[in-house]
């Protein structure tokens, strides 16, 4: 089940994976309608979004980025993340496999209406870009005290 480190010709699982991706490109992934900004499966970088009472957290899985070259913008409630992955190849070497993404990338997603774009915080750690957005004060859950 292992691919040889130098031989990529008969890597059956790679072939299955490619076939599955191509089929998804043709028929789309199963299920209901997708978001108009949803990108095809396998697009780079992978994104996870989580919601809490306080706000929204976006995790962008993009290893090896130069912090200065990550561009994050919020226009209205549309968050866009773009940047570029520089290819790494040691000098005087030949490539056996080149699966890692290289080149410019861009991903966008709509944030919920109750998010305050000015509250954004961003950090980049272990190859994951974490963006935190707080909900507008009026949308945050409030605890109501009962008068004595």
């Amino acid at each position: 089940m292992f691919g040889s480190i130098t031989n990529w010709e008969n890597d059956l699982f790679d072939q299955f994976d490619r076939l599955r991706r191509e089929m998804e490109d043709v028929w789309g992934s199963p299920g209901g309608p997708a978001s108009i900004r949803a990108s095809a499966s396998g697009s780079y970088p992978a994104i996870n979004v989580g919601a809490s009472a306080e706000g929204i957290d976006v995790y962008v899985f993009a290893a090896g980025l130069d912090r200065d070259k990550i561009d994050i913008s919020v226009q209205q409630n549309l968050l866009s993340i773009s940047g570029e992955c520089m290819p790494t190849q040691p000098e005087k070497s030949s490539a056996h496999r080149k699966e890692r993404f290289s080149g410019p990338f861009r991903r966008s997603l709509s944030l919920p209406e109750d998010i305050d774009p000015d509250s954004a915080t961003a950090s980049y750690r272990n190859g994951v870009l974490h963006l935190g957005f707080k909900r507008k004060a009026e949308a945050r859950p409030r605890k109501i005290q009962i008068n004595q």
Binding site: Y59, F61, G64, P90, E99, R100, N126, G127, V128
Partner: protein, 131 residues
């Protein structure tokens, strides 16, 4: 930020990377070779140094990494491309590689593994002596 944090782990459900125990992420790799060594780069975003396990066993190189991400305690997943917190991939090594001298670094989620070739298989320049 809330001070109440938890960390995503493979053995529990985590919204930052909802874990399906059957799903193992397959990291993308680049493999290069020159006269002296083979160099492997693997994308393991989210894996800290402590979450990485590199194993060379009977000519098999196994890369395993566990994603650890801090997140608010009450977080729910809205959308997830990454549906597991574990990466794993294995490669068979050929006999000319010196597995005792493997060197590895992990920086910003990129693992770099260098496996030198054994000295006896390195290309040698043969001097031609004038006859």
């Amino acid at each position: 930020m809330t001070t109440d944090k938890r960390v995503a782990r493979q053995d529990e459900q985590s919204p930052a990377a909802p874990a399906d125990p059957k799903v193992i992420l397959r990291p993308a790799v680049d493999i290069f070779e020159n006269d002296h060594s083979i160099c492997l780069f693997a994308n393991l975003p989210g894996v800290p140094e402590g979450g990485l396990h590199l194993e060379v066993d009977d000519k098999t190189l196994t890369i395993q990494g566990d994603i650890e991400i801090e997140m608010p305690a009450d977080m729910e997943s809205l959308y997830a491309d990454v549906r597991s917190t574990r990466y794993r991939r294995a490669f068979t090594l050929s006999s000319e590689l010196d597995t005792a001298k493997i060197a590895a670094t992990l920086k910003d989620g990129v693992l770099e593994v260098t496996i030198p070739k054994r000295e006896e298989v390195l290309p040698r320049r043969i001097e031609i002596t004038a006859g």
